[in-house]
């Protein structure tokens, strides 16, 4: 007899998702990881809109990765128009992007993932605050610091406003810069405290590869021109679990390197690397893959933590458990990068933008978001109106690999899932894996559509043959 187990909704993550597991005769029959958040058609609704409005419209895809959507969007428009921005604008944007990592990672590490790693009964925000008030306090301070940098440079918190083709509409005053620098030094100490807590937990952890599992997939992330850690610019590098470099390509090669397909049980599309095909080309992105693809860290404190990370996990590693620890390294790295940006005198340059001209063209851009690579590309007409848009969020890249990871775990624990006495723990094991990826389910909803009912009449959708 087939028994169906459903985890719905998945909790302590962004957006709506569920896992459906079918177990038969003590073995796993099927597992489906679904993004159930309603599609919102962002790619469609960007069409026929003024290209300069895209950064403000598209960031509404995600309430957590909004900074990254805002930035990748303006970069895509600028790529289409052949625009170079002033140095100060790039510096402000890099700092803004790094600040979004502080906020997002602090929240995830301290409040969403930590309940899975601590022996606490009340597995939520309040549980963490009760069990470890000092750590919760540090995380809140860090979250606030990230928010202050975002507000100062982005003009507003949750849905920033300052990026426009040609530069930034708001600069940084000397006063604001020094205040953020001063607070940033405290933030670095706080980031170390959270990272240290994670390293402490991971050193004590049995490091059992069966806990999170994970298999050898292509890993994809940005690198700078020296192969170093990079969040805002650079090439996309792909390595496998053996550490072999499979590909390295610029954003403009998106359609040459990537292809997508659809799934019957999820609103998200499935991305794969063309060279490796629809199965071998299913990649992973995010903190762990970033650690896997880079040659080195660019900043001192982060380099120190990367070294400590290498004592616990090999680089590259396939063990999904490393996602949380890689995130802890990145928390430190992102404060490092914010401090680095603020320490640069050019950041207070007054003229932060230049007027630009719209022209017809196609623009491609990537940035790293906290959850992994993020891509926007736009086709724009000569009046500066968007004619087509493509948006691929980190969880779109990760979606199928997460499902495969869950399948691997469920197959190994099919017996525990089938038995009522052990089921709860095994299901928690599943959710723990999903959470390690910190998926952003509303982001990933990349307009794969579906059964549509119009006035009671059901429409099926067929791909137009082109």
């Amino acid at each position: 007899m087939t028994e169906t187990i459903v985890i719905n909704p998945l909790t302590r993550l962004e957006g709506t998702g569920k896992v459906k597991i079918e177990v038969e005769g003590g073995a796993l029959k099927d597992l489906q990881f679904s993004v159930a958040a309603g599609p919102r058609f962002f790619e469609y609704l960007l069409t026929n809109k003024q290209a300069e409005d895209a950064p403000r419209i598209s960031e509404r895809i995600c309430g957590i990765c909004y900074v990254n959507h805002h930035l990748v969007s303006v970069k895509a428009v600028e790529d289409a128009w052949g625009v170079e921005v002033p140095e100060v604008a790039t510096l402000l944007r890099r700092t803004l992007n790094a600040a979004s990592f502080i906020t997002s990672h602090a929240l995830h590490l301290a409040f969403l993932a930590l309940p899975d790693l601590l022996p606490i009964k009340n597995r939520n925000v309040i549980g963490v605050a009760d069990a470890n008030p000092a750590l919760a306090d540090v995380a809140i301070q860090l979250h606030e610091y990230g928010n202050r940098v975002v507000t100062e440079i982005g003009g507003r918190l949750v849905h920033v406003v300052t990026s426009v083709p040609g530069g930034q509409t708001k600069g940084l005053t000397g006063e604001a810069r020094y205040k953020l620098l001063r607070e940033g030094r405290v933030a670095l100490g706080n980031a170390r405290k959270i990272a240290d807590a994670y390293f402490g937990l991971y050193e004590k952890r049995a490091n059992d590869p069966a806990e999170y599992m994970g298999s050898d997939t292509p890993y994809m992330g940005l690198v700078d021109k020296d192969g170093g850690y990079e969040l805002y610019d650079g090439d996309i590098r792909v390595k496998n679990g053996k550490g072999e470099k499979l590909l390295q390509f610029p954003a403009q090669d998106y359609y040459k390197r990537l292809e997508e397909t659809t799934s019957g049980h999820s609103f998200t599309k499935i991305q794969y690397l063309k060279d490796m095909g629809p199965i071998g080309g299913l990649m992973r992105v995010g903190p762990l893959p970033r650690m896997n693809v880079i040659d080195k860290m660019r900043w001192g404190t982060a380099a120190e933590y990367l070294k400590a990370y290498e004592k616990l996990f090999s680089r590259p590693t396939n063990d999904t458990a490393a996602y949380n620890l890689a995130r802890a390294v990145e928390l430190v790295a992102s404060v490092d990068e914010v401090l680095d940006g603020l320490a640069n005198d050019a950041i207070t340059t007054e003229r932060t933008r230049e007027p630009v001209k719209a022209r017809a063209g196609v623009g491609y851009a990537f940035v790293e978001a906290p959850r992994g690579l993020l891509h926007h590309s736009y086709e724009i007409d000569e009046r500066g109106i968007i004619k087509a848009a493509n948006i691929v969020a980190p969880t779109t890249f990760n979606h199928k690999s997460i499902e495969n990871n869950l399948r691997q775990y469920a197959a190994a624990n099919a017996d525990a899932l089938a038995r009522k006495s052990t089921r709860q723990d095994a299901m928690w094991g599943i959710e723990k894996i999903v959470r390690a990826y910190d998926p952003c389910l509303s982001c990933s909803v990349h307009m794969v559509e579906v059964d549509l009912t119009v006035d009671g009449e059901r429409h099926t959708n067929r791909r137009d043959t082109q």
């Binding site: 599609p39 849905h159 292809e259 230049e354």
Partner: protein
């Protein structure tokens, strides 16, 4: 102890994230009350039988979301919509400009997509609508996202049994940009020119939604060098933000702008409110949804 539900429907969780930004203030609210269901923050999997205050973010886009909204309404004393998607339909509502079936053809003809299987997770509705189109809403907290202090003040007032009040003014009220009374006759695009940081955007020819948008936010966007894009929806007593903006444009510039066209600017003047606008209703043959 008031039992609180916090849930996101079709939206981006940004309103809940804005609420998380309240930090200590939010923890104080949560500790003094009882959070009974909030998938983003805690592990409860079932909608509880009795809820005192339900706070819902996001609009309604699937049949499942309609059912959820109805179920929560039945079980809740007070239902609050948080943010412009929940209150007016929000940015995703701009997709309503295209009929559902046409929309499908469009999204599927994208290059680079190999279609294998139709997703069957849930049944899509043809349009994104605000929650109030399906169930009775007791209080709206608009904004994309709402201002953090609004969330705190309004929740604290509501939870203590009071009736909170939203601003009665527009965004211009608190905007420090100066008006000298001379208006550009031509609408300009933001990238074409670096605007004077001290002077009103509208006077300089940049479309700013300030006069048609609910105030109280302190005009953070114009102060950061960007025109208001209307995220807080219409001002008190005004039901259609886009018409109010057109009215402001024509009265301020004293003549219709020569290069204004509705198809180009519909995503500007109705960016957050299209699903609940009169324009949508007219295009929909007089029907609300």
């Amino acid at each position: 102890m008031v039992k609180i539900l916090l849930l996101g429907l079709s939206g981006d969780t940004g309103c809940q994230i804005a609420a998380v930004g309240l930090h200590e203030k939010l923890l104080a609210i949560l500790k003094a009350n009882e959070l009974v269901y909030a998938p983003t923050l805690m592990d409860a999997k079932e909608i509880p039988a009795k809820i005192d205050v339900a706070i819902i973010e996001g609009g309604v886009r699937t049949e499942h979301e309609v059912e959820l909204a109805k179920k929560i309404r039945e079980r809740s004393g007070v239902l609050i919509t948080l943010g412009s998607c929940a209150c007016f339909g929000g940015i995703p509502g701009l997709a309503n400009l295209k009929p559902g079936d046409e929309l499908l053809g469009k999204v599927y003809s994208q290059k680079g997509t190999v279609l294998k299987e139709m997703p069957a997770v849930d049944i899509m509705l043809p349009k994104q609508q605000p929650i109030g189109d399906y169930v009775k809403v007791d209080f709206k907290i608009p904004g994309c996202p709402p201002e953090m202090n609004d969330i705190a003040t309004i929740l604290t007032t509501l939870l203590s049994g009071g009736t909170p009040e939203l601003s009665k003014t527009d965004v211009c009220e608190l905007c420090p940009r100066e008006r000298v009374g001379e208006y550009s006759k031509k609408l300009k695009r933001m990238y074409e020119e670096v605007a004077d940081p001290k002077r009103c955007f509208l006077e300089q020819g940049f479309l700013c939604m300030g006069p048609a948008t609910l105030g109280g936010c302190g005009a953070p966007c114009p102060q950061a060098g960007m025109p208001c894009d209307g995220c807080r929806g219409p001002t008190a007593g005004n039901s259609d933000q886009g018409l109010a903006m057109l009215d402001a444009l024509t009265s301020l510039t004293r003549e219709a702008n020569e290069n204004f066209s509705l198809p180009q600017y519909v995503g500007t003047i109705y960016r957050y409110t299209y699903p609940s606008s009169m324009l949508a209703r007219v295009l929909n043959g007089g029907k609300k949804k």
